[in-house]
């Protein structure tokens, strides 16, 4: 397996506050990594650095072999990103947003048209395509953000809380979508919904106060997960999460 995302000793300081305090991790093609941790742990900050929005204070990030600080444009071409809160231009319609993102990503007319049709079908937003984004409900806005992220069919996907605010049916749909896409992609998703980790992740990392405090994988046929010496029963990831993160805070 080749690492599509490779993070080494990543540190981010805001003035004298350290939000990310030395994170190293790798994500391979065909893998979905769950990025977990309490509020303020540094998940979004890490994702903002991986996608080239924030510059790391120190450490290195390579995506698809391209260094994000030395070769940012090449690296950014490989990434699809759903930022936290799914920001989008309020007075644009999803259709015009896709046209803009597609053109900035260098898709030609025919490809763009075909990709828009594909992502609209996959995220079920056909009915709101010509409606200003500011008038969309939270869930639709999130789906538009997700559609925008996968528009260029990128080999790397970074999704910050992709199912936040979605109804149960849509949560299910998005998980199915991620499962379908993962074969050819390296995917990182942050989430507070632990059943989602069990449903779609191949591996999970728990961060607290800017550090990786545990790494877990599914274990056994029944669907349990093991984080170091903490074993979570199927459906009981929340308890393991509590033990690990509260233990780390102590």
């Amino acid at each position: 397996m080749t690492a599509m995302i490779e993070i080494r000793d990543l540190v981010k300081r805001f003035d004298d506050f350290t939000a990310v305090a030395g994170i190293s991790l790798q994500v391979a093609k065909g893998e979905v990594l769950g990025f977990l941790g309490p509020n303020g742990a540094g998940k979004s900050t890490t994702m903002k650095m991986v996608t080239g929005f924030l510059d790391p204070t120190s450490g290195s990030i390579a995506v698809g072999g391209k260094d994000i600080t030395r070769d940012p444009l090449a690296a950014k071409r490989l990434i699809g990103y759903l930022p936290e809160g799914a920001p989008a231009y309020p007075d644009m319609t999803p259709a015009s947003l896709f046209a803009f993102v597609g053109s900035a990503r260098g898709l030609d007319r025919a490809t763009l048209k075909q990709r828009i049709a594909a992502v609209v079908a996959e995220t079920h937003i056909g009915s709101v395509l010509e409606q200003p984004i500011e008038t969309l409900s939270k869930g639709y806005k999130r789906r538009v953000g997700l559609a925008q992220a996968i528009l260029h069919d990128p080999p790397i996907l970074v999704l910050d809380e992709p199912t936040d605010g979605l109804d149960p049916n849509q949560k299910h749909e998005v998980r199915e979508l991620i499962r379908r896409m993962k074969k050819n992609k390296a995917i990182v998703i942050s989430t507070h919904i632990l059943e989602e980790v069990e449903a779609i992740c191949d591996r999970a990392i728990i961060v607290a106060r800017g550090r990786v405090v545990a790494e877990g994988r599914p274990e056994g046929k029944a669907g349990g997960w093991r984080f170091g010496n903490v074993l979570a029963e199927p459906g009981r990831l929340d308890q393991a999460f509590r033990n690990i993160t509260l233990g780390a805070a102590a």
Binding site: G52, K76, Y81, A88, P90, F100, A104
Partner: protein, 244 residues
Amino acid sequence: MTGTLSVFRREFAGYFATPLAYIFIIVFLFVAGIFTFYVGSFFPRGQADLTPFFTYLPWLFLFLLPAIGMRLWAEERRAGTIELLLTLPISIAGAVIGKFLAAWAFAIVALALTFPLWITVARLGQPDHGVILASYVGAALMAGGYLAIAGCLSAVTRNQVIAFVVGVVICFLFTVAGSPLVLNFFTGWAPPSLVSIVAATSIITHFNAITLGVIDLRDVIYFVSLIAAWLAATVIVVDLKKAD
């Protein structure tokens, strides 16, 4: 510049997606008309030319263009879309230039819509069309300068009102830098070379020179450098402030 064209197209279309553009254009044309025909004592002067219009134009731009420039970056940061924008494979310089060019093109559209003034004076008398054309070119360059300044200040804060007020103040300082009021403040204590540098940064001095009917290369270079310097500053400010 990577992304300039995509950003330009999005921004330029954006002006006409909201009533803002139309309101701006209507206000601009209305006030320009008032200045030209009433405040500028067009009829008493008995001269069919656009001198009154171009005399008041810098003062009109001074207030109206920061209203266009204030949203360029402040809005991106407030809505969080800057994160979307800067994680696309485009350079910050490309985005800065694309946004600036869109704002500038919009200002030029507004300026071009004052053509009925030109037609009016052409029907009333024999104006010097060369002078008017040169003045329009100068006005377009001047608009670029004001927009570059206002756009940079909009990158400093996410608050559009602050961006507007500070934008007007800085535009004002650049406008009047050559006036006796400002120069008297410097003469006496500052070295004469500094005084002449301050005088040379005046927007109004360069604009007035062009409205005499000759587009001097030095005036063009002045406006182009003014725009380039403020755009370069914008790139730096956007990069520094994008996170907060």
